[in-house]
């Protein structure tokens, strides 16, 4: 059995709250951060999206606003809470930071957006260095930018690094801000839903964008009561850069490799938290992959109905919710799903309820044909 890695603290910053506990509570209660909103820009875009209200951001980290961008403030808020909870020394050279994002400080493309901040911070490594510097961490953060699988990748990276013994702790974090850049782009793909998204549903029409930042503090030191990361894997469809392989073959490669890396059998998986973006193609592809791998009866959810698609944050935030669900022995329903709308007869969770759970598979897929799979287990 490969060495398990332990999640000793975590945080989520989203419209549902600024701690993991607050977010879990809201999700279990069936509340969503998605609402009708307008994304400002040369041409304002009316969407359903899950945007972190500025007043929440200001009250949490308003003191940072002069020196850090929105993206940086949100990541710092998330890391601060997780580190505090963990009790670790973030300034230690034996602590590494792994940061995942797809677009970082993309709002800096708007001239004059941050007159007090060094324009070099549009370069991600520079931004990451500023973030690490806030915590006096001496190591160069590892910055991952691998589309929508980035959040899961930060966790996989942390686990792999910790197994080498090079670090005692890894702070893995991920997130993305939403602005006109991303909103107009997804709109040009006709990938957005005009209503709150409906993963796996017959009437699904697309995704909602969202902002959610998540952090895990991980260690290889056995920690009683902590949810474990057993392993993960990444693959590529090698098929198309903006749509998944119809047969889910690339995702299957990642899932099988994650299962092998974790020292479990596929049959050990009790629940799946899918990528479930609610686009016609993604949901169909994922459920084909799960079914082909014999997981047709395993309870599956998508958490996109609570947070929207949070891009670089998605894999991290959704893994954190899944870890809490494992600990709480709860299935979390797929908010937005009511009528089965994928061709395979898979088991989509439609009610939040107590359920015996041990092992969870978390998946994600992204532009470029990338796929990631992660195995979590509660003790």
């Amino acid at each position: 059995m490969p060495q398990p890695i332990y999640i000793i603290a975590d945080n989520i910053v989203s419209p549902l709250g600024f701690t993991a506990a607050a977010n879990v509570e809201q999700v279990v209660a069936g509340h969503t951060g998605i609402a009708a909103t307008t994304i400002a820009g040369a041409r304002p875009i009316d969407v359903c999206a899950s945007i972190i209200p500025n007043h929440l951001l200001n009250s949490a980290v308003g003191y940072l606003a002069d020196n850090y961008t929105r993206f940086e403030q949100l990541i710092i808020a998330s890391i601060t809470d997780a580190v505090k909870q963990s009790g670790i020394n973030a300034a230690s050279p034996r602590t590494a930071i792994v940061l995942s994002t797809t677009k970082g400080n993309i709002d800096m493309l708007h001239e004059g957006s941050y007159p007090e901040i060094n324009p070099q911070r549009i370069y991600l490594a520079s931004s990451a260095k500023a973030i690490a510097g806030h915590f006096n961490n001496p190591n160069a953060p590892i910055v991952i930018s691998n589309a929508c699988i980035s959040g899961i990748l930060a966790i996989i990276m942390a686990a792999r690094l910790l197994r080498t013994g090079k670090y005692d702790y890894v702070i893995a974090c991920g997130g993305d801000i939403i602005n006109d850049f991303t909103a107009s782009g997804f709109q040009s793909f006709k990938a957005l839903s005009e209503v709150p998204c409906k993963p796996f549903d017959k009437d699904r029409t697309g995704l909602n964008l969202g902002e959610a930042f998540g952090t895990m503090v991980l260690t290889a030191a056995p920690t009683h009561g902590a949810v474990k990361v057993l392993g993960g894997a990444v693959s590529n469809d090698a098929n198309h850069i903006s749509g998944p392989s119809r047969d889910g073959s690339g995702l299957k490669v990642a899932i099988k490799a994650a299962v092998t890396a974790s020292g479990i059998a596929a049959a050990d998986i009790d629940t799946i938290s899918a990528h479930g973006t609610a686009t016609p193609y993604n949901d169909e592809m994922e459920t084909i992959a799960f079914d082909d791998l014999g997981m047709g009866k395993v309870p599956i959810n998508s958490l996109k109905g609570y947070f929207g698609h949070t891009l670089g944050g998605a894999g991290m935030v959704e893994s954190i919710i899944s870890a809490h669900a494992l600990k709480g022995q709860q299935l979390i329903k797929t908010l937005g799903y009511s009528e089965h709308g994928v061709s395979r007869d898979v088991n989509i969770i439609n009610q939040t309820k107590s359920y015996p759970l041990n092992t969870c598979l978390k998946t994600a897929s992204g532009f470029g044909g990338c796929n990631a799979a992660l195995i979590l287990q509660q003790q």
Binding site: L109, S145, F181, G368
Partner: protein, 210 residues
Amino acid sequence: MSVPANIFTQVYIGKDAVLVNGLEVCKSAENNNLKDLLKGWYAELGIEYPKFFKMDHLSQLAFLGAEVLFRDADVLKQYASDEIAILLSNSSASLDTDKRYHETICSEEAYFPSPAVFVYTLPSIMCGEIAIRHGIQGENNFFVCDRFDFSLLLEQSDLLFSQTNTQVCLVGWVQVDGNDYELIMYLIERSKQQIAVVNSSQLSTYVTLD
């Protein structure tokens, strides 16, 4: 490295030249315009891949680097598609294309966002383009660093060799910022022989085994 590995091919594209293991494989071009350089190399290498012309400069550069890298090496036949990994990096992510895309949305009168441009506003797309061209289904990642960090890429390859079934890693740096560009790629393969300690200042030197 905890797992013995062998760096066996290097590609360098910069200063208007394409070099494989230190030797020029394209006629020396003298051209300040990156767009024409890329098209010229594509034609000279005799590549037939129409999708090349849909790519942004970053993906075109990465594509060409991988093309000559794999022509030099037999790895694609020796290993299964999921045993080959792609680990690339740069400092500007996809900023070059981000700026182009931003120009299409920042004015109300000239508003024309296009999915064909937007899709390239992620640096990891270049990994996808390489994967599609060569049928590679293994691990893949993209790192944003402040400068070319070979020891990071070596360390990441070692993580894959020791913890996954990856047998060979395409690693490198692919940077485009307007007309400034640079590409460095290596193939690193699991082997029985111990790797030599690599000095990153020896970028243009073919690294051999002891």
